[in-house]
């Protein structure tokens, strides 16, 4: 015991202190258990109390919306955090869920990632808060998207029934005076446009989101989830139909390889080198005037296989409350406000609506768009919303699927080749991943 001198005590203290500091720092990483939530489902009562709600977003307009809501509910203050894009929001949210804390109260979620985040237990079921009563107000396809595995995990925000936005002048230069209504006509136009100007293409080859939407619009339903059981068939009839068609365009050299939203892609649009955008209706008011003078672009329905209207959703997102939120009732109350009336108008100010009343509103339908030489373009989008093919499902790990799309299908799109073969390779990756992750895929 003699060895224990003052110095040794001091040293011991320093060591323990360092250790404590380390532990403290590490503990700071793990944090407290989520949900000091009162558990009350009374949204009206929750909104009468002072509360600060954190709201992540990728949109520039969320702050304005939050300010407007605060005027209606003076007790509610919002802490709006803007992130780069939807992918960044998903990554950050998943990390917060994994860490056990740090998730916001309100978060926008793309329809295609709703299943993934539901599965990751990131989103709260909104049914107990009375959100389910709004079902009849929304289109079937968007309401279907926010209902995952018998839970209501979001409130539909905007929607993206697909439309074809095309460069009328470019088509006319190639002798195509009418927008193609079938894919056969689209193929004819494609060849004509590329023949008239070898640097011009009818479209670019597209990314994962485009590809899945096009499969959807062609009647394919490659992904089916029922609890843990997942079925993937990227060679079903609809998928094959689109893959064959797109392979032909690709191998004829008629598709531009530019990545959607890249600088070169923008230049191609502004310089009459890219003829068509096959996108969700949110693109109707998505700034097409930036890509050319008024009247250059027109909005047309999606071409179909048999001339009968058929469409799909492309993009679009809803608002969810996270499972970690300590103010679920208040957050759900805000979603209720945004579900109808003034609140809904606030959401609809930016984006294509998902509410039936708005889609049928004559004033909105007949509004002329100067950018499309006064075409009442919303009508095209509204018609598309009605012809969205029902029954589509995304994978419960769609984020991963879209990420590895470039390894197989993207590769084939880039260097030419058989898209069906690439789709099978994509499927193999997805089956292997799913089984590894504890699903029962194609078993």
């Amino acid at each position: 015991m003699e060895k224990i001198t003052t110095r040794r005590w001091a040293r011991l203290g320093a060591v323990v202190g360092t250790g404590a500091l380390l532990v403290g720092v590490l503990a700071g990483c793990s944090g407290a258990a989520p949900g000091a939530d009162s558990g009350s489902t009374d949204t009206d009562a929750a909104l009468k109390e002072d509360v600060t709600l954190t709201w992540w977003t990728w949109s520039d307009t969320t702050q304005e919306q939050a300010d407007a809501i605060s005027e209606v509910y003076p007790n509610v203050t919002f802490d709006v955090v803007k992130l780069e894009n939807p992918d960044a929001v998903v990554t950050k949210l998943q990390n917060a869920i994994k860490a056990g804390k740090g998730a916001p109260d309100i978060v926008p979620v793309e329809y295609q990632t709703m299943p993934q985040l539901t599965l990751g237990k990131a989103l709260a079921d909104l049914t107990p808060y009375g959100l389910a009563e709004y079902e009849d107000a929304f289109t079937a396809s968007t309401w279907n998207s926010v209902n995952v595995q018998d839970q209501l995990v979001g409130l539909p925000g905007d929607s993206g029934p697909m439309v074809m936005i095309y460069n009328k002048a470019l088509y006319e230069k190639a002798g195509i005076t009418e927008a193609p209504t079938t894919w056969d006509e689209f193929a004819t136009a494609s060849a004509a446009i590329h023949a008239a100007d070898p640097e011009a293409y009818i479209a670019n080859s597209g990314d994962a989101g485009f590809f899945t939407s096009m499969i959807w619009a062609s009647g394919g339903q490659p992904f089916k989830t029922d609890g843990e059981n997942v079925t993937i068939d990227l060679q079903d009839e609809g998928t094959k139909k689109f893959a064959d068609f797109w392979s032909d365009r690709l191998n004829a050299g008629e598709l531009s390889g530019l990545a959607t939203w890249s600088d070169e892609w923008t230049k191609a649009l502004t310089q009459d080198k890219l003829g068509t955008l096959l996108m969700g209706s949110w693109m109707i008011s998505g700034g097409m005037e930036d890509y050319g003078p008024a009247g250059r672009f027109q909005v047309a329905p999606m071409p179909t296989w048999d001339g009968q209207p058929a469409s799909a959703e492309n993009g679009g997102s809803g608002l969810s409350v996270t499972s970690q939120s300590e103010h679920k009732a208040a957050a759900a109350g805000i979603l209720k406000y945004l579900a109808e009336g003034d609140g809904r108008a606030l959401l609809n100010a930016n984006g294509f609506p998902s509410t039936i009343a708005d889609l049928e509103n004559p004033e909105w339908l007949d509004a002329p768009f100067p950018g499309y030489s006064d075409q009442p373009a919303n009508q095209v989008g509204a018609a598309s919303a009605e012809s969205v093919i029902t029954g589509w499902q995304y994978l419960p790990y769609q984020g991963y699927a879209n990420n590895v799309f470039s390894d197989s299908v993207g590769k084939a799109l880039g260097s030419g080749g058989d898209l069906n073969e690439a789709l099978v390779a994509w499927q193999d990756t997805l089956v292997e991943y799913g089984n590894e992750q504890g699903f029962s895929v194609n078993k």
Binding site: E2, A10, L26, N403
Partner: protein, 325 residues
């Protein structure tokens, strides 16, 4: 109970240090050992802050990654201990080895070119035949000061074969250059960006080493009648061998860690750059797109070990040559 225990707290007004010093020297019989103990303690004061930071930012994450790599957490079914299974999987993962092969090729081709150019530039600046040396030095170094993200965006624009610089060259000369962003050329294009970025940095390492060569060596060489090239090969290059080894090791590590350039180019050439283009990109995508944090940790550790081994071999080779000469 010991004396030290009783007097553990210094009296008021006396600092712990002073008190302890007095107390220790006071007990004379075991003074030798006490002094040694004091030396230890003083050392820790100096090393402590470093060790703390070292432990926090270096050892702790490394240990955590190792810990992570022994588990497998899945979306369904939770977390389970799997021992070395993740490592076994990495050993036979064709994607990982394809990525390793790719950065190895990159290393073997790009690093010699980059270091060769840097050496040439450093020798040219040191030759005393150039005017405005600071101007050239700064110009060559400037790309290093451009943030990597910006650099890749600049090059990404130039590489555009429909609207970029490549397109302009094609049109102006009436030629048809292959697209630098196509799958077959993308590695070359990345190598070009990295070379542009880091020639200046390596040039500066070489140049400063050259500046440290004693002037009398040159005078001796001159008296012996050595020409410019003889001076370079017999004096300058041997003198900066150490700097060359260091620069090579940095470049080896940089090659294995290739991430920024492919990651940013992916947004404009998504179909040419796979999610497993380099080991780092693979680990990144595994964890952030696939939520396979555990496997990503194993991949990161394996590629870290390989990098260390290669860097060590380079260092050994450098030292061996040094003893030979």
């Amino acid at each position: 109970m010991t004396v030290a225990h009783v007097h553990a707290q210094p009296p008021a007004g006396v600092s712990t240090e002073t008190y302890a010093t007095v107390a220790t020297t006071g007990t004379a019989s075991k003074g030798g050992r006490r002094r040694r103990a004091r030396r230890d303690w003083a050392g820790w004061w100096f090393v402590g802050p470093f060790m703390l930071i070292f432990g926090l930012v270096f050892v702790a994450p490394l240990l955590y990654a190792m810990y992570l790599s022994l588990f497998r957490e899945t979306l369904m079914g939770g977390n389970s201990f799997v021992g070395l299974e993740n490592y076994a999987k990495a050993m036979v993962d064709p994607k990982f080895w394809e990525a390793m092969l790719r950065v190895s090729i990159f290393l073997l081709v790009q690093v010699p070119i980059m270091l060769g150019l840097a050496l040439f530039a450093a020798l040219a600046l040191d030759s005393a035949r150039l005017r405005w040396v600071p101007f050239y030095r700064l110009s060559i170094f400037l790309p290093y000061a451009v943030p990597g993200v910006v650099a890749v965006m600049i090059w990404g624009y130039m590489y555009g074969s429909q609207f970029g610089l490549v397109a302009d060259i094609n049109r102006f000369f009436g030629v048809e250059l292959p697209s630098p962003l196509a799958e077959n050329f993308i590695l070359l294009s990345i190598g070009n960006i990295v070379t542009w970025e880091f020639v200046g940095y390596n040039m500066l390492i070489f140049f400063s080493a050259l500046k440290a060569v004693p002037q009398d060596l040159y005078e001796a060489a001159e008296i012996d009648g050595a020409g410019t090239f003889r001076t370079i090969f017999s004096i300058k290059l041997p003198s900066i061998r150490g700097a060359m080894v260091i620069a090579t090791i940095f470049s080896v590590i940089g090659s294995f860690q290739l991430f920024n350039e492919p990651s940013i180019l992916q947004t404009i050439a998504p179909n040419s750059i796979t999610t497993y283009f380099t080991p780092n990109l693979y680990a990144f995508n595994l964890s952030f797109a696939g939520s396979q944090f555990n496997y990503a940790a194993a991949i990161a550790i394996v590629s870290g070990v390989i990098t260390m081994v290669v860097a060590y071999l380079v260092q050994l080779a450098g030292e061996k040559n040094e003893t030979k000469s």
